[in-house]
């Protein structure tokens, strides 16, 4: 098994499992009460120290870190928390990058149905937020946004946003900024103290699933998403997932800059071999490797379809990801690939790789070799080729739509 889908989720480190174990089997009390028995107090000590570790990774105060059940909850809490806390204000505009994660975009859709206004920021062909568009919106005197949400590292195309720059544009006009740092946490330095809220998660850094955190700048007013107790500085009720939180902190501790050197080296190696062995592909996201998540490589391969590539590789025990419509539950092209202006007929060939410290160069060599022959095989049976695409482009230019447009809505998948 060669697992190359490490931006979807990662294997939990043995050291992380070891760190969690006492909290599964021994220190099992909730850490809530100060005046309880010593298991409860030991639990609280563990919780506090996990909070310190996580906070120091993004340069914020531990007391401003709220543990959550993960990215989805953190993003929903951030976006809806701000919106609902300002429900009665005249301003009701929420702004996000159009390549934001679905947990951000779907939260906005819900809010839009409830009367909030939403603007999605344009991005360039590499996925970076259009600075002029952002400036135009945050500087608007009659419709000041309640929040701007921007991803730090993009899961699909690896784009690493310059958060300092975005934050300073927002703050120039006193607009708070939320940063979705799920995919960049521990992989790229982030000074979250320059942001108003930052989402981070455990399961992409060899920590357990089901746990994440939200940094909330002291004083920022949010409506709680989950009521029910004094836990998490009164901002999130419920028995703390202490094994998960301890595992999260351990994973963060273990994910040192050294790890990034390893994955970056692997990624760059892959990129080079790819260029040598795979004809006709196009990198998605930034070409400048330093402006990408260090472990991230993504392409579209011409004339072939992602699901077919993925399953051929799978049978050979290599696991990657694709943004191909045919591989998605909704059978829709990835919104990120669409937002960077990639036509759907091209995005079908999407392939993305997330490497981890557990991968080796040999694995990557094997992977590219396999991929090369799969692509050759699929192309051999495909009617599509350069000539086909030229004709297709001409037809599109002339506005001629081919008869067999099997585009259809899957109503049962819609709201």
């Amino acid at each position: 098994m060669v697992y190359l889908d490490n931006n979807a989720s990662t294997r939990v480190d043995q050291a992380v499992i070891d760190a969690m174990m006492p909290y599964f089997t021994d220190i099992v009390s909730p850490p809530s009460s100060d005046y309880g028995h010593s298991f409860g107090v030991e639990a609280k000590t563990a919780l506090d120290s996990a909070r310190e570790i996580i906070a120091s990774k993004i340069n914020v105060n531990p007391s401003d870190i709220i543990f959550t059940s993960g990215q989805a909850e953190s993003n929903n809490f951030a976006i809806k928390g701000i919106a609902y806390a300002n429900r009665d204000k005249e301003e009701n505009l929420l702004v996000a990058s159009s390549v934001s994660h679905s947990t951000v975009l779907d939260s906005l859709k819900t809010l839009e149905k409830q009367g909030f206004s939403v603007i999605l920021l344009k991005v360039d062909s590499e996925g970076f937020v259009d600075r002029d568009h952002l400036r135009e919106i945050v500087s608007s005197t009659n419709k000041r946004p309640l929040l701007v949400s921007v991803p730090h590292g993009n899961v699909e195309i690896g784009t690493l946003e310059n958060i300092e720059e975005i934050a300073s544009i927002c703050h120039e006009f006193n607009v708070p900024i939320h940063v979705e740092a799920t995919y960049s946490f521990c992989k790229v330095p982030l000074d979250a103290s320059a942001t108003d809220m930052t989402t981070i998660t455990s399961h992409l850094i060899h920590g357990p699933k089901g746990v994440g955190a939200l940094y909330i700048r002291k004083g920022l007013k949010l409506q709680r998403l989950i009521d029910g107790g004094l836990q998490e500085n009164k901002k999130r009720g419920g028995t703390e997932n202490l094994p998960g939180i301890v595992g999260f902190a351990k994973a963060a501790e273990l994910y040192t800059p050294e790890i990034n050197k390893i994955t970056q080296k692997l990624r760059d190696y892959l990129w080079n071999v790819f260029e040598q062995k795979i004809p006709d592909f196009q990198v998605t996201g930034p070409f400048d490797r330093d402006k990408r998540l260090p472990n991230h490589f993504s392409v579209v391969i011409s004339y072939v379809e992602g699901e077919s590539i993925l399953l051929h590789l799978d049978i050979l025990d290599f696991m990657i990801a694709t943004g191909s419509a045919c591989s998605s539950k909704q059978l829709k092209a990835s919104h990120v690939l669409s937002a960077i202006g990639l036509p759907t007929e091209v995005s079908h060939g999407s392939v993305r790789v997330g490497v981890s410290k557990f991968n080796t160069q040999e694995e990557l060599d094997q992977f590219v070799n396999h991929l090369a022959s799969i692509v050759a095989r699929l192309r051999e049976m495909s009617p599509m080729n350069a000539e086909f695409m030229r004709e297709w482009e001409e037809m599109k230019a002339q506005g001629v739509v081919p008869k067999d447009n099997h585009h259809h809505e899957f109503e049962d998948l819609e709201e």
Partner: protein, 134 residues
């Protein structure tokens, strides 16, 4: 190896049948749209005496289901008369494949569509229309 697809689908995906082209085919059917992610071209070589499909080839761009249904449809058509082949339904193809995921059922339409179009093309070339066999 766990997959959502049936064994039959996976087998045909791994070892597709009748892939390729026929030069100067008796009939050609092109369907699909690169935007949707499935394009299929079916080539027929028909014996004009007997109307029997003696050879059939397909070029497919698409997902696992598209490749499997292309293979299955061409296998089912081969050796049949165009009249018989024209009657192959999408459901028959899917059933013969041990079923398809609900959302992928649409993909199986394509190969049958391409086949029918190739048969129509053949009929037209031989001065007939589909009504005559339908």
């Amino acid at each position: 190896m766990a997959h959502i697809y049936s064994k039959e689908v996976m087998d045909l995906f791994m070892n597709p049948k009748n892939m390729g082209e026929i030069e100067n085919p008796s009939g050609l059917g092109k369907v699909g749209n690169p935007v949707c992610g499935d394009v299929m071209w079916i080539y027929l070589q028909v014996n004009e005496e007997t109307d029997i499909i003696e050879d059939i080839k397909v070029k497919t761009f698409g997902c696992v289901a598209a490749i499997a249904t292309s293979s299955k449809t061409t296998e089912m058509a081969k050796g049949k008369t165009v009249t018989e082949a024209y009657k192959i339904t999408k459901k028959q193809v899917a059933d013969d494949l041990g079923g398809l995921p609900k959302q992928k059922m649409h993909c199986s339409n394509l190969a049958v569509d391409a086949l029918q179009r190739a048969i129509i093309n053949y009929l037209e070339k031989t001065g007939r229309s589909v009504e005559e066999i339908d």
